[in-house]
Symmetry: C2
Subunit: 160 residues, 2 copies
DNA sequence: CGATCTTTGTTGACGAGGAAACAAAATCGC
DNA sequence: GCGATTTTGTTTCCTCGTCAACAAAGATCG
């Protein structure tokens, strides 16, 4: 296997491990709330006027899925919806006090993960950070361009 | 946001984009086969005596899920199972000729992805590869250790 | 050897998310 | 302004993967 594949495979593996491990911890600390629910809470907490469409785009999920999650979060009393008088179509979300509490727990957990992995990151030099960030940035915008292209293809093949 | 979080967030974002984009392409090229089915085919093709348990560990999935995927792959005639006379419990899998064909298509697609992203990787120096691989390796084994620890915790809380 | 525990694989019920069809509001084109 | 199209959100149906319970075959230990 060449280095290119090693990097991709390595990061994929790393990502899976990290997701799996953190998910387990999350489940314990945020019992009763699904990971995707917590993600939505976090986004809503950080972005004013979040709505179903924005959340869907952010998490690469369908509006359908987000709609259901939002419904559940409202039933739990973690978020509430509001509208603007000038727009009766879009429905925005904001956190309730209870939602803020969950958000804070999540933030603390995030810090705990950082603390847990501190030893690894302490060994990373500034130059390495910059190198990796440049790589991520370059690869990401490359894929973004491909997704745009692909989007065009998709709309041209709606009837296949 | 500090560089540590930027790197993690950046790679998460990158990973999501890559997965989303490749999944779309896969769906077109390997119509009729789900991503997880293709993953299993690939593993079975590359590892002699693959069984449900090994596949589950490899993909961080439950034996239950793999069992169902294997069942489907057998119904499709892409894999076949065999046993050893000295062990009547374990069930191993191998690809059929048809399964090999799917595996080859997948391999070609993999090459196509590499070709698509070549421009990005051409700009990466040997030193950068090594730096990233060291990072992945270090982080990965750190998490591996944490998972082991966590595994111990888990078996101690089976009755919660 | 025989009883108990562990490992391996399967099944059924369930929950999460996607696809498609839909309603309602906004926007565009004239 | 008015019809056609687009955008936004919801609901229904379906598939995938998990969890729990289970059966069957090893492994362990007296």
């Amino acid at each position: 296997m060449n280095k290119e594949d090693q990097v991709i495979e390595g990061f994929r593996e790393l990502y899976n491990k990290l997701a799996w491990l953190n998910k387990s911890k999350m489940e314990i600390a945020l019992k009763g709330h699904k990971p995707s629910e917590v993600h939505c809470i976090e986004y809503i907490g950080k972005h004013a006027d979040a709505n179903v469409t924005k959340l869907a785009e952010r998490f690469y999920m369908t509006r359908s899925a987000i709609s259901k999650i939002a419904k559940k979060l409202m039933e739990k009393g973690l978020i509430e919806s509001y509208q603007r008088p000038e727009n009766k179509k879009e429905i925005y979300f904001k956190l309730t006090e209870q939602g803020e509490a969950v958000s804070r727990i999540h933030e603390e957990l995030h810090n705990a993960f950082r603390e847990r992995d501190k030893a690894v990151f302490e060994q990373v030099t500034e130059a390495q950070y910059d190198s990796m960030l440049r790589f991520v940035e370059r690869y990401s915008s490359h894929l973004e361009a491909e997704i745009k292209k692909h989007g065009v293809e998709r709309s041209a093949e709606t009837d296949d």
